[in-house]
């Protein structure tokens, strides 16, 4: 065996996972190759270091004492759904809305854009069908009202409805810095993701909210948001991809409303196709993290800190009260 072949087998050799033939061949080579011997020693040292680190780190990790009771509550909720016959496919849809992010800056394998577009469009179409197809809406809405959430954005805003049980009320920023041109919304019963960007200034504003069972703040610069402890982390770099959606036409009637609202006030999600995608790279990213009740709120942005704090301080519940004519 030659060095290139042997070096590919050294880790498995150390792990005692080679075949008898491979092991004998590697040993024979090591007897006469000092370079591979040194390589083996270096890998052995690293392997030990990694193993020791993982064990020490794992030893520090202990689940919350409330883990079992939390699990019991979730199992109980699953066992007694509000809408037993609620189509499983629709339940899955409400639990699988997500967003598309790229996090790697060069050289890494990521989800392909075409697949990402397809998934996003499919989810949007399905959500719109749930929200606006009259037959579906009638079946679901009669027994289980939709909760509507309004998120500010260009053209007056976007209203998103989520059928079924929603575990928390997402927040939206009442203040947005000037020039943010588009947004994307991801919503499911436990996660809300609001993404804004300004393609002219290459600035992003990504607001994540997640229902959690345990609260913990990371290390970073301690700040406050609305009097609550928060942490600011700076010096982040990465990239994100946004799917750009074309403007939506006037809203159709909501279940509790006789006439549609003017287009400039509401533009609920309708089946749309992605018109373009933007990838924005940043090197001066900051992340602001705090808790609102049991919801972990995170703002990732390359805006100045003052603007981020202003956005954070402006967060208000996004839910729209049912309209009574």
């Amino acid at each position: 065996m030659k060095c290139p072949e042997v070096t590919q087998l050294l880790v498995a050799y150390l792990d005692n996972e080679l075949t008898l033939y491979e092991r004998a061949s590697v040993q024979k080579h090591l007897e006469r190759c000092e370079a591979c011997q040194q390589e083996l020693a270096a890998l052995a040292a690293l392997r030990s270091r990694v193993s020791r680190f993982l064990r020490v780190r794992a030893a520090q990790a202990v689940p919350s004492p409330q883990a079992w009771s939390c699990l019991q509550e979730k199992l109980a909720r699953q066992a007694s759904p509000l809408l037993p016959w609620f189509p499983a496919s629709l339940q899955c849809l409400t639990q699988n809305i997500g967003r598309i992010h790229q996090t790697l800056t060069g050289g890494a394998k990521m989800m392909k854009r075409g697949l990402a577009f397809t998934i996003l469009v499919a989810v949007l179409v399905a959500l719109a069908a749930v929200a606006f197809v009259p037959s579906v809406r009638a079946q679901v809405g009669d027994l289980l009202p939709f909760r509507w959430f309004r998120f500010g954005g260009p053209g007056g805003g976007v209203e998103v409805s989520v059928p079924g049980v929603v575990e928390f009320t997402p927040l939206r920023p009442a203040y947005l810095p000037e020039g943010f041109q588009a947004m994307a919304v991801g919503l499911n019963p436990e996660v809300a993701s609001l993404n804004y960007w300004n393609s002219a200034t290459n600035q992003i504003l990504m607001i994540d909210q997640q229902l959690v069972s345990t609260k913990s703040l990371p290390s970073g610069t301690k700040v406050t948001v609305k009097g609550e402890p928060a942490v600011l982390i700076t010096g982040l770099e990465g990239s994100v991809a946004f799917v750009s959606l074309p403007p939506t036409p006037a809203a159709p009637t909501r279940p509790d409303q006789d006439e549609p609202r003017p287009a400039q006030e509401t533009s609920p999600l309708e089946p749309v196709t992605a018109s373009s995608a933007e990838t924005i790279s940043y090197t001066d990213g900051k992340q602001l993290i705090w808790y609102v009740g049991n919801v972990r709120v995170s703002i990732l942005s390359n805006l100045p800190v003052e603007e981020m704090l202003k956005v954070a301080e402006s967060m208000v519940p996004a839910e729209v009260e049912p309209h009574h004519p």
């Binding site: 997500g98 996090t103 700076t234 010096g235």
Partner: protein, 190 residues
Amino acid sequence: MGPALDHPTGDEEHFAAIFQQYKNLVYKTAYLMLDDVGEAEDALQEIFLQVHKALSTFDPEKGAFTTWLYRIAVNHCLSRRRNRRLFTVPLDRVAPSSPAEFPPDYRSVEDEETLRQALGRLSEKLRAVVILRYYLDLPYAEIAQVLDIPVGTVKSRLNLALRTLRRELDSLEGNIPTARHVPSPREVAE
């Protein structure tokens, strides 16, 4: 206890016993995979919800229970990392001292912190095999079952993982000053 558990059946008692027996192992694995206390807590819940749902489908003739459990746990963690993939600092950073003592441009000399950063730069696939092998001590064949990949792929991923770690450590521990929290581009897994 909720309606489903008001009158524990054998199945529910069995599940409760499984949870108590494996919760620490699952939590620690999730914690190492996700490097975040909050995420690990949520993952623990979600993993055992899946276990509860799929418990009746476990077939002991197809493999060990722990292999089946690890597969659910690791796949969930991989999915979580993929879905929430942002190049940001992990949320539960276990700093050796208070944040105020570390200026933004400090260079880490802590052995554990450096290795933690290097591990954090591995892709999900490489991180998974490292944890399955060097924390859970699983043989390659079992790792292959857990991840549903060939043994040869396990071998090549571990080889790539250790070499990538060595390169990252050389970069982090060398004389190249790095700003805190700035990750490097991730390695292509394969």
